[in-house]
């Protein structure tokens, strides 16, 4: 009887079951992530193959196009700088599970604020003072743009994802209005004038000093998250608002305060873009950086140091995609597709880090 029952139980056991892993070694976790990454690259290779190109040639052309010469290296770094800082901003908000997809708008708000001083105050005050003023204005502009949804979230639990997203469009609309109206440069086109030299960021080693700002901010955010009381509170609120409340933290205040920091970081991106990269404000000042930064932050597991690596990797991908467009006539949107595929795989592989699959053991044969 018992044996029969065991056989019946065996038949009802599923082929495959999952069980939570109690622990996993860091090495194993990272090798799973590496495997997922390679699988994603292979998936991209398949796509290239379908288009009738050699994946190896296309991938190596991408890398050559991104880091092959000094000029391309400089422009790759120029792509990585705003990505990195924006990713820091996104990471702060994601750390407390505040799904901020408004970095784009916060960048533009910072850009608008910095541009005001670049246009109106240039030549009035010394260049260093002007930069500091633009920097501060951009941080305040971005912080304001980030704080509004946080305030509403704290007070009424307003959906932050959509609110921050809508503010992106509002910022974009403001720029279009400024281009066509108050800040229009003389002569037909709706454009804002190029900044004068005094309002342009100086260069160090061929790249505008934004890269120094970025490195400093990586250190600041690392310390903020791992060493400061504020950073700790941010993490606790993210993991469990109830725990935070029970421990006597003011969840709403943590929310608003962290979003002020996050918004300020994004605002600084706006300053760097208008004063360092474009020398003017356009509707492409943010150019999707705020969205790509989300993937950078998530791929780096919200770890600021890992973000440096990921931001450079994504920058290589984007710059390389531009190159293969000219060489192989593969549209530059290929980089978006590839980023999407890589992220899908990375999101999926976390499951295999947290759980293990158990196959049904082949038991006694029936009969």
């Amino acid at each position: 009887m018992t044996e029969q029952a065991a056989v019946v139980a065996k038949q009802h056991e599923p082929w495959l079951r999952i069980a939570k892993r109690p622990t996993i070694s860091q090495r194993k976790a990272w090798s799973i992530r590496a495997a997922a990454f390679i699988a994603a690259i292979l998936c991209g290779a398949l796509l290239i193959l379908l288009l009738g190109h050699s994946p190896f040639a296309v991938y190596s052309e991408m890398i050559r196009g991104a880091v092959g010469s000094k000029i391309s290296l400089v422009s790759t770094i120029k792509i990585a700088i705003p990505l990195l800082i924006a990713a820091l901003s996104v990471a702060l908000s994601f750390k407390m599970q505040f799904w901020n997809i408004g970095a784009e708008g916060q960048i533009l708000a910072g850009g608008i604020a910095a541009t005001y001083f670049a246009l109106e105050w240039v030549g009035v005050i010394p260049a260093v003072a002007l930069f500091l003023l633009m920097f501060a204005a951009a941080a305040v502009g971005g912080a304001l743009w980030g704080a509004i949804p946080a305030l509403c979230k704290a007070k009424w639990n307003t959906n932050e994802t959509l609110f921050t997203l809508m503010l992106n469009y509002v910022a974009l609309g403001l720029i279009k209005y400024l281009q066509a109206g108050p800040w229009q440069k003389p002569g037909g086109h709706p454009q804002i004038a190029m900044f004068e030299d005094a309002a342009r960021l100086p260069k160090v080693f061929g790249v505008h000093i934004g890269w120094i700002i970025a490195i400093v901010l990586v250190v600041v955010v690392t310390i903020f998250l791992s060493r400061s009381k504020h950073g700790f509170e941010t993490a606790v609120v993210g993991q469990s608002p109830n725990t935070a409340r029970y421990a006597g933290m003011n969840v709403g205040r943590v929310l608003v305060r962290t979003m002020i920091f996050a918004g300020a970081l994004a605002g600084i991106v706006g300053f760097i873009q208008v004063a360092g990269a474009d020398y003017t404000l356009t509707e492409n000042t943010a150019g999707g950086v705020g969205f790509t930064a989300i993937t950078v932050a998530w791929l780096a597991q919200l770890n600021p140091l890992a973000m440096v690596v990921v931001a450079i990797f994504i920058a290589v991908l984007e710059k390389g995609a531009g190159r293969i467009q000219t060489t192989y006539a593969i549209p530059a949107s290929a980089s978006d597709v590839l980023i999407g595929i890589i992220l899908f795989f990375m999101l999926g592989c976390e499951f295999f880090i947290n759980y293990r699959l158990i196959l049904r053991k082949e038991g006694k044969k029936r009969g």
Partner: protein, 333 residues
């Protein structure tokens, strides 16, 4: 009056893609999945619907009428559903974070559509990806009852009624039928009740013997397909059957916001889509003496207003499904 009729007419045309996206997302969210990939799925549907007809015409010659419509509907639905399936597999089976997965789907979908749009366009002799004139006519705004048009020539009232109710492209009517069907399904059928139970409290639904994951998968995938049809509307009707880079341009996100505006009710979504469609074209009909750029902000500002308003007065009945946004782990309940 003429101006008002024209405004409403244009609002219906502009609101229909929003309505499809909103309906798809309502169905998805009712199962407890908050899929932020609506924009991406609409993009995928937009390119797939257009490409489906484009390639079918390459094989079969010029297509018109019901066959052309069916091919476009099918291609858009399948492609949108495919995007939703990726999302569903990652969040339901692999338990990935819903927010990030949805955002990734948006990035992927935008890239996917623009990528194939450009590839196909550059491969065509004209460097444009466009469907034939006959196929375009399938998606044109034709009067439903040509007899009524003759009568409308003499009577202003008949003209207005004809214009407001019987002179859209076929997708507009399909959207309204889908909305009514969805309302009926959610509120009047056993399966709809089960689905709502899954979204509110999956553990209780599971205990009651409802196959939670099957409901989640089906709702998410069908919802994605409906979003895809919304994208197809944009490439076929709004862009007149020609591929336009970035053609969806944020409408998917407005659809996500409209779900909140409609408080998860398909019939209220019809009204919401009309309002938001109207706001997006208001500047061409009602001059307020403010800059054009500010006019274009109206839908977004209205969304923010609605978001705040609905969050300030939380009502129990018209609220987000309780378990929406969270994955369900049977062994961790």
């Amino acid at each position: 009056m003429d101006n008002l009729v024209n405004l409403l007419y244009a609002a219906v045309l502009a609101g229909t893609p929003l309505l499809f996206g909103t309906l798809g997302e309502i169905l998805t969210e009712k199962s407890g999945n908050l899929n932020l990939g609506v924009e991406g799925m609409m993009f995928m549907g937009a390119i797939a619907g257009l490409a489906g007809v484009y390639f079918a015409e390459m094989w079969l010659g010029e297509l018109t009428g019901i066959i052309c419509l069916l091919i476009a509907l099918l291609a858009a639905f399948v492609c949108g559903a495919f995007g939703a399936l990726i999302y569903g597999f990652l969040t339901i089976t692999l338990r990935a974070n819903q927010n990030v997965t949805g955002l990734t789907l948006t990035i992927f979908g935008i890239g996917f559509a623009n990528f194939f749009g450009e590839i196909i366009a550059s491969a065509s002799p004209t460097k444009f990806m466009a469907i034939s004139t006959g196929a375009k006519a399938t998606f044109a705004n034709n009067p439903l009852f040509p007899g009524l048009v003759e009568l409308a020539a003499d009577n202003r009232w008949i003209y207005w009624i004809n214009k407001l109710f019987f002179s859209y492209n076929l997708l507009v009517y399909i959207a309204i039928v889908v909305a009514l069907l969805l309302a009926w399904f959610l509120n009047k059928t056993r399966a709809g009740l089960n689905l709502r139970a899954v979204g509110e409290d999956p553990a209780a639904a599971d205990a009651a013997g409802i196959a939670v994951n099957r409901y989640k998968y089906l709702a998410t995938v069908i919802g994605g397909g409906i979003c895809g049809i919304g994208g197809m509307y944009i490439s076929m009707v709004t862009a007149y059957g020609v591929w336009v880079h970035n053609c969806v341009g944020g409408r998917g996100w407005i659809a996500v916001a409209l779900v909140i505006f409609a408080t998860w009710s398909p019939s209220r979504a019809i009204f919401g889509a009309l309002v938001f469609g109207g706001l997006s074209i208001l500047r061409m009909y009602i001059p307020l003496g403010i800059p054009i750029e500010i006019y274009d902000l109206l839908p977004y500002l209205a969304t923010i207003f609605v978001l705040i308003l609905t969050s300030v007065r939380q009502s129990k009945e018209h609220n987000i499904p309780k378990h929406c946004g969270f994955n369900y782990f049977r062994e961790e309940r």
